[in-house]
């Protein structure tokens, strides 16, 4: 049983009544409040603590996109659910950045209940509250200067090279996360399973990608990277890209799209709360940025973000367990095992010390698994190639 404090916002009394009625069975478990508009909702939020806000989009006065944007700034710990009948195309991008999860009207009570129950769960055991605040404040992620340059060059071309764009987006941490969040919640139409970022890009088209990039960059235009932070984020990105290329061979066909995305997203936490951003008003988050050793580990913040955004659970699990020793199940490596194997292989390749035998027993066990042994691949060589390829792509030959 989950105790949830939930605020529902809609300007149509009929809809609020409908929600109230359909959730009668939950009234002993949940504290529920109902607001007829954005202004009332902000007053209620200022007066007491909530876990989740579920809001309509089209409302007079402060509309849903504006309400959720303000909630992200003032109350980042509150999870934001969009419950919408129709979103004006002009507001779509703002909604896409402001919301964590997206449901369409009419929605099944069961779906609404399960989204709320998931959002009450905080994935970080040690830093639940702070990880939620940092992740909750994140509407989009900052791009490294190298990332930004690549995308800008592709998107500014008079005739956009779609294959090049698909490749670049598939290697981009921020866009991979945002596109998989939106597609997994049916933002672009039908809700696909096991879909790849490449497929999403092909479905949504260039203008949507351009709008998303512009809106995300707008949020982070004032960010200047600290040289040390930029260097470590760049190294993490290179590692992620190399792992993503390698895991395409390691993972089985149906796990490949999720494994590729998990590899790209494995260090997403490093991009969050960097260099001053939407959480600047939060002193605790400042301590995290300053590298306070008592702060929240990057991984926990990243996992909390992917959980809040509702990415497919195999991806979230693989990112959460990247640094956890993996004992492969006889039934197969699935996503988590494939990502862990690719991570260890690339780590060995990148190691400056050839005698570095860290995790070598675990890696031997993973490579001996029938799933990998059945393919006649020299995995050490494949890892070297993937790493060199990532370096070439980033223009940082070593």
């Amino acid at each position: 049983m989950t105790t949830a404090r939930v605020l529902f916002v809609d300007d149509e009394p009929r809809i609020l009544d409908g929600i109230r009625r359909s959730l009668r069975g939950k009234r002993r478990e949940w504290d529920m409040a109902f607001a007829p508009g954005g202004e009332d909702a902000l007053e209620l939020l200022a007066g007491s603590a909530f876990d989740v806000v579920v809001s309509d989009m089209r409302m007079p006065g402060i509309d849903g996109a504006e309400l959720l944007t303000r909630v992200s700034e003032r109350h980042p710990e509150v999870a934001r659910v969009v419950l919408s009948g129709h979103t004006e195309p002009a507001a779509a991008i703002k909604v896409a950045l402001a919301g964590h999860r997206f449901l369409t009207k009419p929605t099944e009570t069961e779906a609404l209940v399960s989204v709320i129950e998931e959002l009450v769960v905080r994935t970080s055991r040690g830093h639940g509250g702070l990880a939620r605040r940092i992740a909750g404040a994140t509407r989009a992620l900052p791009a490294l200067p190298q990332q930004k340059a690549k995308l800008d060059a592709l998107l500014a071309a008079p005739q956009v090279d779609l294959a090049g764009l698909v490749h670049a987006v598939g290697h981009d941490t921020s866009l991979t996360a945002k596109l998989l969040q939106l597609s997994n919640w049916g933002f672009f139409g039908a809700r696909p399973r096991n879909t790849s970022v490449a497929a999403v890009v092909n479905t949504v088209g260039v203008p949507t990608i351009q709008a998303l990039v512009a809106a995300s960059e707008g949020l982070w235009s004032a960010v200047t990277w600290q040289p040390a932070a930029e260097e470590s984020a760049l190294a993490a990105w290179r590692h992620a890209i190399a792992c993503a290329a390698l895991v395409d061979d390691v993972a089985s066909p149906a796990h490949r799209p999720h494994a590729h995305a998990a590899a790209v997203l494995q260090d997403i936490g490093r991009l969050m709360g960097v260099g001053g951003g939407p959480t600047a008003a939060d002193p605790a988050a400042d301590a995290h940025r300053a590298g306070d050793p008592g702060g929240v580990p990057y991984r926990e913040i990243g996992v909390e973000l992917l959980h809040l955004w509702g990415l497919p659970s195999p991806i979230v699990a693989a990112v959460a367990e990247r640094d956890t020793a993996h004992r492969p199940a006889e039934s197969g490596l699935a996503v988590t095992g494939a990502v862990r194997a690719a991570h260890l292989l690339i780590q060995r390749t990148e190691s400056r010390d050839p005698a570095d035998g860290a995790h070598s027993d675990e890696l031997r066990l993973l490579l001996a698994h029938p799933q990998l042994a059945a393919q006649s691949v020299d995995w050490a060589r494949a890892a070297d190639e993937a790493s060199a390829q990532a370096g070439r792509w980033l223009g940082i030959e070593t």
Binding site: S124, H127, S252, V303, H307, A320, S331
Partner: protein, 143 residues
């Protein structure tokens, strides 16, 4: 809820899986041999396939080849093989299965694998062992 296709010539296994998967809320379809399995796949467009290897006519590998040859996002395929037949496991992996179970298996094992790929298991972001950060006693959910 997911659409699951069970392809097996053994009626007892079809029944067992149908009972357990339906109890869990899934929409279960069955096919009685390989050719039937290929036809059913095209009509049903399942989210998950449970596939026996040893079937008269078209065997499990043949069904797998046909499924993988289709122009759609890859569907997770779980292959069921006789325990003694380790060569068939190797062949299954090389042909692109996603999961492999040796008989005898339990229905719970099948359910667990389906949930793992299609379900919503919320992970807990545990600190890696030997990590360089402190981990407080703050319970999850408080701040």
């Amino acid at each position: 809820m997911a659409k699951i296709l069970v392809v097996d010539d053994d009626a007892a296994i079809r029944q067992l899986l149908t009972d357990v998967l339906e109890m869990d809320g899934h929409d279960v379809h069955v096919a009685v041999d390989g050719h039937d399995g290929v036809r059913a796949f095209e009509v049903i467009r399942p989210d998950f396939v449970v596939l026996d290897v040893m079937m008269p006519g078209l065997d499990g590998y043949g069904v797998l080849r046909s499924i993988r040859g289709q122009d759609c996002d890859p569907v997770p395929v779980l292959m069921l093989t006789a325990a003694a037949d380790s060569g068939s496991a190797a062949r299954g992996w090389a042909d692109g299965v996603d999961y492999y179970l040796a008989k005898p298996f339990t229905a719970e094992e099948v359910l667990y694998l389906i949930e793992g790929v299609l379900g919503h298991r919320i992970p807990v972001a545990d600190a890696p062992a030997g990590g360089d950060h402190t981990s407080g006693d703050e319970p999850a959910g408080s701040f």
